[in-house]
């Protein structure tokens, strides 16, 4: 039964996340934007609450709500589970503040990487801990197959050497999931992810970035210098994948994380739309959904256009997460959601600044901050252009050597 609505059972979660955004994140939003690299201590209490909410989500996941029989193809259940719950929570939190959300203790995307490929034993060891993800290198940005960090087995340990940049929460997390190659000449199949404890002496913090936005979130650059990790910390199988599928396994992480980043974009864009609507209404502008855009003021016409694209990105994100919950292949849907939401968030937040003029551009509103924060969402976890490559290859049946 086609029903693209957030299920009522998630109302409580959405409400709680929204309240956290209103009462915890928003009041400190500007402060940690200004005081870059200062740890937001207020988040420790909130993290406890989120841990409880996550426990609830885990509960949801083990007892998925199932569509009553007769309303859909027989024998197929409809699951609204962990991915959908995470997404709607994330949207609310990012309505509060994307930067603060990204640096929430124990909420790093590294956990998604762990969950995607970890063995049950590894899940027991690493699940629930604050994990950051280290993929990008100075010479390997979007081209993650080109990473040069090496992992060499030495006795019971892997020895990692290389350089990692743009590690979100890299300074604050307990674990860093490092992508490295077992054999540089073996291509993508040799790329594996390794869990490195943050206090490992071979993992050296080089510096923290100063950024356009999401300044509450630390972005760390590391040097790995003979960094030794137990061989059990290689996530998944140590076998070299002979085909592209091995790398595809690592890349599958993105099928779950890209809808989440789309959700972040949906959240920050809604923050800008909500505030802009308030400011326009205070200025005496009424937004009418009945009347054609061309017969209303330019501000209203603009606003409805932005809202429409925002609604599309929201629905695409929900769809991609729902597909994850139902174990439907969602590579295409995840990239479509990420591509649309990334560019929409940037456009919406920048246009909201424009619609509000000096009020939008000055620092006494958060509109200018949201426009700075939003831009990263069209870049990390795969840029707009990488999403387009993924989408086009899927649609046109192209290999990465044909469509480069």
């Amino acid at each position: 039964m086609i029903n693209p609505e957030v299920p009522a059972k998630l109302d409580t979660l959405v409400y709680q996340a929204h309240m956290a955004a209103v009462h915890v994140l928003r009041p400190i939003s500007r402060r940690y934007d200004t005081a870059e690299h200062e740890y937001p201590v207020e988040l420790d209490t909130l993290a406890e609450l989120v841990a409880q909410a996550n426990a609830q989500q885990a509960g949801l996941n083990t007892t998925p709500e199932v569509e009553p029989s007769g309303s859909a193809r027989s024998g197929e259940e409809n699951v609204n589970g962990r991915n959908l719950a995470s997404l709607v929570g994330l949207i609310e939190m990012c309505w509060g503040d994307v930067g603060l959300m990204l640096t929430m203790p124990r909420q790093g995307l590294g956990q998604a990487a762990i969950h995607a490929v970890a063995t049950p034993e590894q899940l027991r060891r690493f699940g629930g801990r604050w994990a950051a993800m280290a993929i990008t290198e100075p010479e390997a940005g979007s081209d993650s197959a080109a990473i040069r960090t090496t992992a060499v087995l030495d006795g019971d340990e892997y020895v990692l050497n290389g350089e990692k940049i743009y590690v979100t929460s890299g300074d604050r997390a307990e674990l860093i999931v490092v992508w490295a190659t077992l054999d540089r000449s073996a291509g993508r199949g040799a790329i594996k992810s390794f869990v490195v404890e943050r206090d490992n002496p071979g993992l050296k913090l080089d510096r923290l970035e100063h950024k356009l936005g999401i300044r509450a979130s630390d972005t760390a650059n590391f040097v790995l210098e003979n960094c030794r990790v137990p061989k059990e910390n290689l996530l998944g199988s140590p076998e070299l994948a002979t085909t592209r599928e091995g790398f595809a396994g690592v890349m599958q992480t993105f099928d779950n994380t890209r809808p989440m980043v789309a959700g972040m974009a949906v959240g920050v864009a809604r923050a800008a739309l909500d505030r802009t609507r308030e400011l326009l209404e205070e200025a005496g502008v009424t937004i009418e959904y009945d009347r054609p855009a061309a017969t209303q003021t330019a501000a209203v016409a603009d606003f409805i256009r932005l809202e429409a694209d925002w609604e599309a990105s929201r629905l695409l994100a929900l769809r991609a997460a729902w597909m994850s919950d139902n174990r439907l292949p969602n590579k295409l849907a995840a990239s479509i959601a990420k591509a649309k939401a990334g560019r929409v968030a940037t456009e919406v937040t920048l246009r909201c600044v424009e619609l509000c003029g000096t009020v939008g551009y000055a620092e006494d509103e958060l509109l200018e901050k949201w426009a700075r924060d939003a831009k990263i969402l069209d870049i990390f976890e795969g840029t707009q252009q990488i999403q387009q490559l993924v989408i086009a290859r899927e649609l046109l049946g192209k290999s990465s050597s044909e469509l480069r």
Binding site: E67, Y289, I304, A308, A312, A333
Partner: protein
């Protein structure tokens, strides 16, 4: 619960309709576009599939157990993948039946609905749009006044009404006592009514028409839903959802067509789809098509479950107005000079898709 799976009934209907659309409508589309008319045989075949009476409840002889906006949207999408103009021609008469099923009183339903489930349902048309710039369906110029004999007198004109010329029954929007209102007009007995063909840029197979009402006298029973402003709002919004559904189907046709074309067409020694500048345009078509599809489904679902759907309908329409039009343009662009000729259907889709986010009325599902 969040769900995007159609029901078994919807799945079967869509399979049937899509098959009809691609096998029967697509091959007939070029000629129908040129002739500004859908062949009678196609219209009859669509009626046989029950497409003209999707809105008639089973209790009144309809094919569906429950009228469903979502089912209507899925059927319209499938049909428009064949051809948007023909889809509009097939579905437009049913709009009057759907409206009467929703808002007609017992007399109006008894008088008109049974005919829609017969082998040859009446040609009917829903007329809202008018021929002036900055047209606003909430600022109609067509007016009705109360005549001396208790009748209602209609004056004004309606533009680009699908299947307007051969209509036996019209549902016309006009202002009565300052409220937008709906009137049933039986064309055979309406003196002062003129119906003329009004060809346009696209959806030509739907035989769009201009209607002129020169003090047309109607019986008091012609007024539908007692000038209820909420009924009119919902009617306008439902029509926008229907146009968005047509756009989804036509945009899907563009995506399928250009995907095959850019893979086959070679230039500089390789398929043009190996170029990012080409491939990314196809990716964008897919992104905006899925956007429009989901927004349309959401509006339809809220409409059929009796929730507020005015805003979602407006948002879907905004996507149709901009992105569906851009998809039509991309379709022509990707085929280059070939796309500009009538050797390929993309030039027709370019013209048809321009209607989707712009025209008012004409169709509800």
């Amino acid at each position: 619960m969040f769900d995007l799976r159609p029901t078994d009934e919807q799945r079967m209907l869509v399979d049937t309709v899509r098959d009809f659309a691609l096998r029967a409508c697509r091959p007939a589309a070029l000629a129908a576009d040129a002739a500004c008319e859908t062949p009678a045989a196609l219209l009859a075949a669509a009626d046989e599939l029950g497409l003209g009476a999707l809105g008639v409840p089973e209790s009144l002889g309809g094919v569906l157990e429950h009228r469903s906006t979502v089912t209507g949207v899925l059927a319209a999408e499938a049909l428009a993948e064949g051809d948007m103009g023909i889809a509009l021609a097939c579905l437009a008469p049913g709009a009057v039946a759907t409206a009467l099923g929703l808002w007609g009183d017992a007399d109006q339903q008894a008088a008109h609905l049974p005919a829609f489930t017969e082998a040859r349902p009446p040609a009917a048309a829903l007329a809202i749009a008018e021929h002036h710039v900055l047209f606003d369906p909430f600022a109609l110029r067509t007016r009705a006044r109360r005549g001396a004999g208790g009748d209602l007198v209609l004056r004004g004109s309606k533009a680009l009404v699908p299947r307007g010329v051969d209509a036996d029954l019209l549902l016309v929007a006009a202002v009565l006592d300052e409220a937008p209102s709906l009137f049933l007009v039986e064309t055979a007995s309406a003196r002062g009514l003129s119906l003329t063909a009004e060809p346009a840029m696209g959806v030509r197979a739907a035989a769009t028409a201009r209607l002129e009402f020169d003090d047309v006298s109607l019986p008091a029973g012609a007024l539908v839903a007692d000038s209820d402003p909420q009924v009119y709002r919902e009617l306008v919004a439902l029509a926008r959802i229907a146009w968005s559904a047509l756009a989804v189907g036509a945009a899907q046709a563009v995506l399928s067509y250009v995907s095959a074309y850019v893979n086959e067409r070679t230039a500089f020694g390789e398929p043009i789809s190996n170029r990012q500048s080409v491939a990314f345009m196809v990716a964008d078509v897919a992104i905006e098509l899925e956007s429009l599809r989901l927004a349309t489904y959401r509006a339809a679902r809220l409409a059929e479950t009796g929730q507020d759907f005015i805003r979602p309908a407006s948002l879907a329409r905004s996507l149709a107005a901009r992105h569906a039009t851009a998809i039509g343009s991309t379709g022509v662009q990707l085929l280059g000079g070939h796309g500009y000729t009538k050797e390929h259907p993309v030039e027709r889709w370019y013209r048809d898709l321009r209607a989707a986010g712009m025209l008012e009325g004409g169709l509800i599902l």
